[in-house]
């Protein structure tokens, strides 16, 4: 089975797509690369430091408006672009950039007089080279990150449940079979659902609602063992349930909270989960009691860096994971961009 699955994956066509300009990381990369290329051009065309500055200013003056206008235009038509094939998409991008370059040329000639503006051919040449280099860069980056390698990373990063939880949960269910067969049934059903998700292919984003359901099943199982010691409050102030998140982002955090926050306390404690939307971001906030010292940390750090890495693979620079420790509380705060199923 395993073999089959992996063979199938290797034959999957490599989906190369145009860079998504809605992504902050992509925007930054475009700006940095374009300006770096402008700087190189300036250095090549000049003999001294002061001349370089002069050149850079000139190139920038011609380039920045075209660059920003192109990014804005591509940003606003990303929906239409996404529907095209990769080849057609490239043609569209070139056409758009070149026509904006021509527009900039005409505008600049009208504003400053034709003698101060580089010839249209030179500007076209420069724009075309820059667009070409950027597209090649994103193509290569996409190849490096997306298919085999990212998939392997994501697969390796798939959140794993702690064996500690698995065996304790089985033990708890066993103890119910004689005394409370109905609860044992529910518990086994919850466990089946949980493991179905854990063993599934977890590389696609899922709606928030599914993750929350999964978390509730997980918590029901923990409640079986811990009884009144585990108290959970959900605050879902109008968070859109269709927001897409990587699967198993919240559940491992809850598992950490139970293992490090609740289990070490004889009297138990409260886990507080708050989800909300702020402008175009979804915030996930999780609090649990925390006592300094104790057998913390190694497992916790592993789970956190795992989640952090998966967020980065899915959302690049747009997602964040922060943790905060106060005297009695441990807090994890995740921010992801609000995306829905197209």
């Amino acid at each position: 089975m395993r073999m089959m699955a992996s063979i199938k994956q290797n034959h999957r066509p490599i989906p190369i797509a145009l860079p998504d300009l809605r992504n902050l990381g992509v925007q930054l990369r475009v700006l940095v690369l374009a300006n770096a290329m402008a700087a190189i051009a300036a250095v090549l065309r000049s003999n001294s430091m002061s001349e370089t500055w002069q050149e850079l200013l000139q190139i920038s003056a011609a380039m920045q408006p075209v660059l920003l206008a192109s990014m804005l235009a591509l940003f606003s038509i990303h929906r239409q672009l996404a529907k095209l094939s990769y080849r057609l998409g490239i043609v569209a991008v070139f056409m758009l950039v070149l026509s904006l370059t021509a527009l900039a040329h005409v505008a600049a000639a009208w504003l400053f007089g034709p003698e101060f503006v580089p010839s249209l051919l030179r500007m076209w040449f420069f724009s075309a080279i820059m667009t070409g280099i950027l597209l090649v860069y994103f193509n290569l980056r996409g190849r490096a990150l997306s298919p085999a390698i990212t998939e392997a990373r994501l697969q390796a990063l798939q959140a794993r449940i702690r064996p500690h939880f698995l065996f304790n949960a089985i033990n708890a269910v066993l103890s119910l079979i004689r005394s409370d067969p109905r609860r044992a049934e529910t518990a086994l059903e919850d466990m089946a659902d949980l493991f179905r998700v854990l063993m599934a292919d977890n590389r696609q984003l899922i709606p928030l609602q599914s993750e929350i359901n999964l978390c509730q099943q997980y918590l029901a199982l923990e409640k079986l063992r811990l009884g009144g010691r585990l108290r959970v409050t959900w605050k879902l102030d109008s968070v859109p349930m269709d927001a897409l998140i990587p699967p198993l982002v919240l559940q491992p955090l809850l598992e950490n909270a139970v293992y490090h926050g609740i289990e070490p306390l004889a009297e138990g404690g409260e886990i507080d989960i708050r989800l909300y939307r702020s402008r175009n971001e979804i915030h996930l906030l999780l609090n649990n009691p925390y006592r300094k010292g104790g057998d913390h940390h190694h497992g916790n750090k592993m789970a956190l860096s795992n989640i952090r890495e998966r967020l980065a693979l899915h959302f690049d620079a747009e997602a964040q994971l922060k943790t905060k420790v106060t005297d009695y509380l441990y807090e994890v705060h995740i921010v992801i961009p609000y995306r829905t199923e197209p």
């Binding site: 064996p163 500690h164 065996f167 304790n168 033990n171 708890a172 103890s175 063992r225 289990e263 070490p264």
Partner: protein, 249 residues
């Protein structure tokens, strides 16, 4: 077998279903009687000193005091109870147990395994205890036996420890206790809590108020440590004088 000769068993686990499961299994093993159920190590010790079990079934990971520490303290009872640890999953613990031949059961626990373990259960040897204590970075208490009871001395209350012939004197605000341990082991185990002032003395860092130079009649002078809450004065040996600067900065 009648009640009198039955194996007296104490269960300790912080999870109710886990205790429930053990109860169900033990009900099927003839010649056993459960004399108490505890939710953590501390409760287990309180029950053990009253009911003197033959066997303690201890979960390793419990809040407050864990199973390994409780097992250690329970060994000063006489007769010391046999100990069987239970654990869901803990690679390190399993390895340590294998190495030191300490009995343990993996959850979910099987009836035959439990019956078998009970048959050969015995008290922990001091070497075994030392071996498995390494699993838990630090104990939370010292223990002394007094008239068949286990007195637990919270580490946070210990002001200093002084070696006296065979025993160690443990000083707390209220009184002194004698414990049967080695100063060197304690220094290693709690290097962050205690600092060595003298060949025969460890003092708790948090209880050191400051240091003072004392002049002897013969013209020699040496440092002494002043302590919070007790009037006792501890001499600092020449070899340990660097401590004075380390602590007072």
């Amino acid at each position: 077998m009648n009640e009198l000769h039955a194996l007296r068993i104490l269960i300790a686990d912080d999870e109710a279903p886990a205790r429930n499961r053990l109860r169900e299994l033990l009900a099927e093993i003839p010649g056993t009687v459960i004399i108490g159920e505890a939710r953590n190590g501390m409760e287990a010790l309180r029950l053990a000193e009253q009911a003197l079990p033959n066997v303690m079934l201890l979960d390793i990971r419990m809040p407050g005091m864990d199973g390994i520490e409780a097992a250690g303290h329970a060994q000063i009872l006489s007769p010391p109870p046999a100990v069987i640890f239970t654990t869901a999953y803990d690679t390190y613990a399993m390895q340590a147990f294998e190495l030191s031949a300490v009995d343990y059961l993996l959850k979910p626990i099987r009836l035959e395994r439990l019956a078998n373990a009970l048959k050969k259960a015995r008290a922990l040897l001091p070497e075994q205890l030392n071996e498995i204590r390494r699993l838990r970075p630090q104990r939370t208490h010292f223990s002394v036996s007094e008239r068949g009871r286990i007195l637990l001395i919270p580490l946070a209350d210990v002001i200093y420890l002084r070696a006296e012939l065979k025993y160690l004197t443990v000083r707390t605000r209220e009184r002194e206790y004698l414990i049967d341990e080695s100063l060197t082991h304690i220094e290693e185990e709690f290097s962050d809590l205690f600092v060595r002032l003298h060949r025969n003395c460890l003092a708790a860092r948090t209880f050191i108020l400051g240091f003072e130079k004392r002049h002897e009649a013969d013209g020699e002078s040496h440092w002494v440590a002043l302590l919070k809450d007790v009037p006792d004065i501890l001499p600092v040996s020449r070899r340990q004088q660097h401590i004075v600067h380390e602590i007072t900065g």
